[in-house]
Symmetry: C2
Subunit: 197 residues, 2 copies
């Protein structure tokens, strides 16, 4: 029996962005199905007492080099966003809302958002910039804003995030293959091993 | 010109133990010289504001699985020490004192100590256990205790630790290849790449 790959991500995490660029390749190589789990990393930090590596200045300095090394290894562009940290609450509500209501549009949405943040160094804390990025990617910003304000979508994002914490998640990206949890884009080789039939 | 590999370690870090088991192999494979840097991880945490991953319960739970996965990949034994955290101040003074005064004995000393902690699950917070472990490994515990109480050795450990922090170190194990810093036993593949002539 083939395993599914569950992938918890938040667009505000540079490591989750790197994982986002690699997951489709792993799916092709292993034949697994990917279950995308948009969630709120800030909520996970609050619930678990974990914090961003960027909160320790020496670690933040190093992380930029480390992420660049992986980006080079993967052959993908990566820019350390100069507007970090990004409040991703509305963006992750949009991602989850799309997944639930227009499933085919979630991936193009996240593609556009992570490219804006982690390739084009956009300030996604600025509503006008968010609007322009979404419009350029063929989305209706007003419609997405309505989605992000929908109480049902708000509750859904809370539920996904709460469930992640209950399963032991403390950071992003996090993967599950069956019961086995893997944390970090730097564990994708173990994820791939776990997906071998 | 061949690079040297600088290796900052503290016997109280399970990740540093895993790195300890792999560094000789990397030295053989790349022909690099290893410069061992015994230091005090607790001092680094204090100076940088970083903390052990074991301080976040959900992360601690995961780290045990993660370290086991790497131990299996490396083919080395690993037991999550049930007496963790270990106060390694005296042990790291002994390691550095030996390195400075009887260089050939530092590696056998650390081998014995990490085996006691990360393979045999010994309580190295207990002075009697430490004494027995050292005696079994052919060391004179009294002599080593005297070394750990030597003001010059105490100052040396502070100096190595302070220099590490000044170079940007925030955790263990940490490696330098020239100016390039690598943090974590999970970055040994990058270390190996950096050591290629």
């Amino acid at each position: 029996m083939k395993h599914a790959l569950e992938f918890y991500f938040d667009v505000g995490s540079p490591a989750a962005y790197l994982a986002w660029t690699q997951v489709p390749k792993i799916a092709r190589e292993t034949g697994c199905e990917v279950e995308y789990r948009p969630f709120l990393l800030g909520g996970v930090f609050q619930a678990t007492g974990n914090r961003s590596p960027m909160d320790v200045p020496a670690k933040a300095q190093y992380m930029i080099d480390d992420l660049q090394r992986f980006a080079r290894r993967y052959g993908v562009p990566f820019v350390n966003n100069s507007h970090f940290p990004i409040n991703t609450l509305a963006l992750m509500r949009m991602a989850l809302g799309l997944q639930l209501r227009e499933p085919g549009r979630m991936i193009p949405f996240v593609d556009a958002v992570v490219r804006a943040i982690w390739v084009d160094d956009k300030d996604m804390n600025d509503p006008a910039t968010v609007g322009a990025v979404l419009q350029n990617a063929g989305f209706d910003p007003e419609k997405l804003l309505a989605l992000a304000s929908d109480p049902a979508v708000k509750d859904d994002l809370k539920a996904v995030t709460r469930e992640a914490v209950q399963r032991g998640v403390f950071g992003a990206p996090t993967f599950f293959v069956g019961q086995d949890m893997f944390w970090g884009q730097d564990r994708l080789d173990f994820v791939k091993e776990a997906l071998q039939p």
